[in-house]
């Protein structure tokens, strides 16, 4: 119950972590099944339809439900602490964001047991995703599930923007903000601009499918290429929504374990902003073969290549952060170290893809599959592992085992390169992507086998990580405040895990890497910016949970509103939109409750604050 009603950002972070872990596991199992099917030519382990459902759900799950919540988990756990705040700006909304995300994700995955998963690829290109060619409810689960989950993401993004703009501790100007906070800030801004695009797209596709509209239907005057534009105007920025937080994490981990400040801080900030901006200008590089014509192709080629410049700045800044430092290879830093060359490899193939005439060959082949897994897994997932190992003691008060962590790292990264490096060659040798099997004697066989073996090794790495988490959870929570000893930012100045109110007294920030600065000045703790006083706390509430349940029911009701059921009772309920209305009633009822009953929250009085005096 505590977990369902909580509005504490630290608990919500843990909820996001569990939910993300669950979906990541599902997506991972889907990946392994895909790779087993491709282990040899003409394999019959899966049938073609199931395979298409698996790749669709694997892609969709990983992008929207697997890594996003883990990113949100870290942001929730760390951002308020890093900027010296007691919570996010809107704790109620924070909880609402999580629950809508979770129920959206659950709805999408329900498709596995309710008559067929979506099968048109995670990009859901029309007309294949239209009702004519995908008649099961699969794609409806996709449009409505993602719509609900996307609502949660948008709410979360807006919340972080407000939090970072308004709640920084005294003295923390924007240019003194830790890089992870910057990354979160920019990521949230991208969410704010990109998610409305996909929202519109999903609504239009839903209307096409459920209400027989004609937005993308050629016979009705619609245009399927329009879907591609809408999808990628969202979809490309989405890639940066994923990777910028990883950049932020790496920018925290490397300085800590090099005992040096980040090299070129202001150019890092500048590069982040530039990447975000360019990220919106390059969507059509996913569409070079759609037939946009040479002018568009040339423009989008060049603008895409330009992203290499700010990305290059970042990579060299990280390398020179370590230069002259004292590099310690703890597990988080191993992952950060693995990140640099791996992500760079994904980056350079990105530049190769940007060259439109070459992309005519790369597009929709395994070369692209290799490229985006180098970016997403080799970049983002390695970054998330770095971040999880780094902040685990802060989140849970327990250090993960270093030796198991190192095992995780080595099995995962070796498995990763085995799996995906060879896929570059598969693509160049003529293997297109999204194929459920391939004919023998095309020289694809050995490389596919290697790739599958690699995937199993990555699986082993994941299992070791889970074992590590499990064993750690059984040990006493005794992590010190600054467990890595060289913490530089504010989160390391308070106990692990932090008390409900985070900071007994809001700290005064006197420079970049506030904590490190105090340490260097010989202080053990931050100077407080305020006297000890009562701390205002928001009340726990179940309303966000109820609202999300309502939306979930409404979504299901809408999806089945045109179906015939064997029981006339069911038909009556669904066909007259009674179920939909009921769901909306729950949601709007909860909203009404929220508006009518003013909840002022409560206070923690100074006497109750642990430790009494500041040490």
């Amino acid at each position: 119950m505590d977990w369902i009603t909580t509005v504490d950002h630290k608990k919500i972070a843990i909820l996001y972590l569990w939910a993300g872990g669950l979906f990541f596991g599902i997506g991972g199992i889907e990946a392994i099944l895909i790779r087993i099917q491709l282990i040899k030519p003409m394999n019959t382990f899966l049938d073609a339809q199931t395979f298409n459902e698996l790749i669709t759900m694997h892609g969709t799950t990983m992008i929207f439900l697997g890594v996003m919540p883990v990113i949100f988990a870290l942001m929730n756990a760390v951002i308020p602490l890093q900027i010296g705040a007691r919570d996010v700006a809107f704790p109620f909304l924070n909880s609402l964001g999580f629950w809508t995300f979770l129920f959206g994700g659950l709805l999408l995955n329900l498709s596995w047991v309710m008559g067929g998963a979506p099968d048109a690829g995670w990009t859901a290109y029309t007309p294949l995703s239209g009702k004519g060619y995908s008649p099961s409810h699969g794609v409806d689960f996709y449009t409505i599930g993602l719509q609900i989950a996307g609502l949660g993401t948008l709410i979360g993004g807006i919340n972080f923007l407000a939090t970072i703009i308004t709640m920084r501790a005294p003295g923390m100007s924007f240019m003194r903000m830790p890089m992870f906070a910057w990354a979160t800030f920019i990521t949230s801004a991208i969410i704010l601009f990109a998610f409305p695009a996909v929202t519109v797209g999903l609504v239009l596709l839903t209307f096409d499918r459920i209400l027989d509209a004609n937005f993308f239907n050629v016979d009705g005057g619609g245009n399927p290429v329009l879907w591609q534009h809408i999808f990628w105007i969202f979809g490309h920025p989405e890639v940066y929504i994923l990777i910028l937080p990883a950049f932020g994490i790496i920018s925290e981990v490397i300085p800590t374990f090099s005992r040096k400040r980040l090299f070129g801080y202001s150019s890092m900030v500048f590069a982040t902003i530039l990447i975000a901006f360019l990220g919106f200008m390059v969507w059509a590089h996913h569409m070079f073969t759609t037939g946009l014509g040479p002018v568009a192709n040339a423009l989008f080629s060049v603008s895409t290549m330009l992203i290499a410049v700010p990305t290059g700045i970042k990579i060299f800044n990280w390398l020179f952060t370590m230069w002259g430092g004292q590099v310690r290879f703890t597990t988080p830093n191993l992952f950060a170290a693995g990140f640099i060359p791996t992500f760079t490899m994904g980056g350079v193939t990105g530049v190769m893809l940007a060259s439109a005439p070459a992309d005519f060959q790369f597009h929709d082949t395994y070369f692209v599959v290799a490229h985006f897994h180098y970016v997403i897994v080799g970049g983002l997932v390695l970054g998330l592992f770095a971040g999880l190992h780094y902040w685990w003691p802060k989140m849970f008060g327990r250090m993960l085992s270093e030796s198991l962590g190192k095992w995780t790292f080595w099995t995962f990264i070796i498995g990763f390169h085995l799996t995906f490096f060879v896929q570059h060659f598969l693509g160049l040798m003529g293997m297109q992507r999204r194929v459920f099997t391939y004919l023998p004697n095309q020289q694809f066989d050995t490389l596919n086998l290697v790739s599958t073996v690699g995937a199993f090794l990555m699986g082993v790495g994941m299992i070791i990580f889970l074992v590590n988490v499990f064993l750690t959870s059984r040990r006493p929570a005794d992590a010190p405040e600054d467990p890595w000893e060289d913490g530089r930012t504010l989160e390391w100045t308070i106990p692990s895990p932090p008390p409900e109110y985070n900071f007994k007294q809001t700290p005064l920030v006197r420079g970049l890497d506030a904590f490190w600065k105090e340490k260097m000045a010989g202080h053990k703790a931050m100077t407080p910016a305020e006297p000890i006083g009562p701390i205002h706390m928001p009340s726990a509430t179940i309303l966000p949970f109820l609202m999300s349940v309502g939306i979930f029911i409404a979504g299901l009701g809408f999806m089945f509103s045109r179906d015939e059921f064997s029981s006339s009772m069911m038909s009556f309920l669904f066909n007259n939109y009674i179920v939909t209305a009921l769901g909306l009633l729950i949601t709007f009822g909860s909203m009404l409750m929220r508006s009518l009953f003013d909840d002022h929250g409560w206070h923690i009085e100074p006497e109750e604050l642990e430790g009494g005096e500041q040490r």
């Binding site: 073609a48 050629v218 940007a354 060259s355 439109a356």
Partner: protein, 349 residues
């Protein structure tokens, strides 16, 4: 600008070496790395240039990384605080400018080739015009200037530009012959795409569909057969000859007409919109695009056997395809075998 070109030139030896290395990769009739025509060649040129540049970048990043990890590893009892460097304006400008130059080196030839590839030969009198139509899961090729239509095998004369006009009858597909040219999507009418390629050498090249189009997307293959100009003219002539080859057995002929020709077309019949033309199917490279008619290869089989495989159960060959099972249309096993024999013998000389 001179400078950037010089930088490009310096990469040339490396590009050449890479070319040799990559050329070992894949089948000649299939691999992007073994281009067999000028269009694929120009993509390949850009690929080599970009790979060369990118390998240089990777080598720099890897070596700096290896150096710092070894050189600046924290030693035991090392406890002094390292100097907290802010950054270095000069260095940061350096790694802004260098990537910028590399991008320019790649961008200039890219833009050139983009516009060159925009030349689709659709108004070239000398080019062979072919209308390609994608269907779930087969390919139709209409030679507009000759008034003939075929399926699965695209026959082209060597050395001539083939001007394509691409569209689809159902979902999106993408037309791709890796060793001859990059891919181009087939969109529904209204957004028809054009492009062109040519094949200087005789040979059979493997083509694929590159856009997810349903369960059998992976099986939506076709062959491009490039033949001498003379052989091409002969082929056109025999395609145009009003053939009325029908199965000899009148019962079988009746079955074939009523059950098969309701969807398929042969000879001078107007091309059917729902099923591939069967004209001269006995001379094709494959049945259904994927069952190779070549019993000299280990992945091939005699055409008769392939036809029987297909006709006895089309769904098991290509899941989700739109052809009904002949058994469900009331054909007995013997009749199916009979039709297979007839089709195998239906060749163009």
């Amino acid at each position: 600008m001179m400078k950037t070109w010089q930088a490009g030139k310096r990469l040339l030896p490396m590009t050449a070496a890479l070319g040799l290395l990559l050329a070992g990769c894949g089948r000649e009739d299939l691999s992007v790395l073994r281009p067999q025509g000028p269009v694929a060649e120009s993509s390949y040129g850009l690929m080599k240039l970009s790979i060369a540049i990118m390998i240089v970048v990777l080598l720099i990043v890897f070596s700096i990384a290896a150096y710092v990890w070894i050189r600046f590893r924290r030693k035991k009892d090392q406890d002094e605080i390292p100097k907290q460097v802010e950054g270095s304006f000069k260095l940061e400008v350096l790694w802004t400018v260098i990537p910028l130059i590399l991008v320019i080196v790649l961008a200039i030839p890219t833009v050139k080739v983009v516009f060159a590839a925009g030349n689709d030969h659709s108004d070239d009198k000398d080019a062979i015009k072919v209308k390609v139509t994608g269907h779930q899961y087969w390919w139709e090729f209409e030679y507009t200037d000759y008034g003939i239509t075929t399926a699965q095998d695209l026959i082209i004369p060597t050395g001539k530009h083939i001007a394509f006009e691409l569209s689809t009858k159902d979902v999106l597909h993408s037309f791709w012959v890796p060793s001859l040219a990059g891919k181009m999507d087939t969109n529904p009418d209204g957004t028809v795409n054009r492009f062109s390629f040519s094949a200087p050498n005789e040979g059979v090249y493997r083509g694929k569909c590159a856009e997810l189009c349903g369960p059998s997307h992976g099986f939506m293959e076709f062959k491009v057969k490039s033949v001498s100009g003379e052989a091409f003219d002969n082929w056109v002539a025999s395609m145009k000859a009003p053939e009325s080859v029908m199965p000899e057995d009148p019962v079988l002929a009746e079955k074939f007409k009523s059950q098969c020709l309701s969807c398929h077309a042969i000879g001078s019949m107007p091309a059917s919109p729902v099923a591939p033309s069967l004209t001269g199917i006995g001379s094709r490279e494959s049945v259904a695009g994927i069952l190779l008619n070549d019993d000299t290869r280990e992945d091939g089989a005699p055409i008769l056997e392939n036809l029987k495989t297909w006709l006895h159960d089309p769904q098991s060959v290509k899941p989700g395809n739109k052809m009904p099972n002949p058994k469900d249309m009331g054909l007995s096993d013997e009749e199916i075998d009979g039709i297979a024999e007839y089709l195998a013998g239906y060749t163009l000389d």
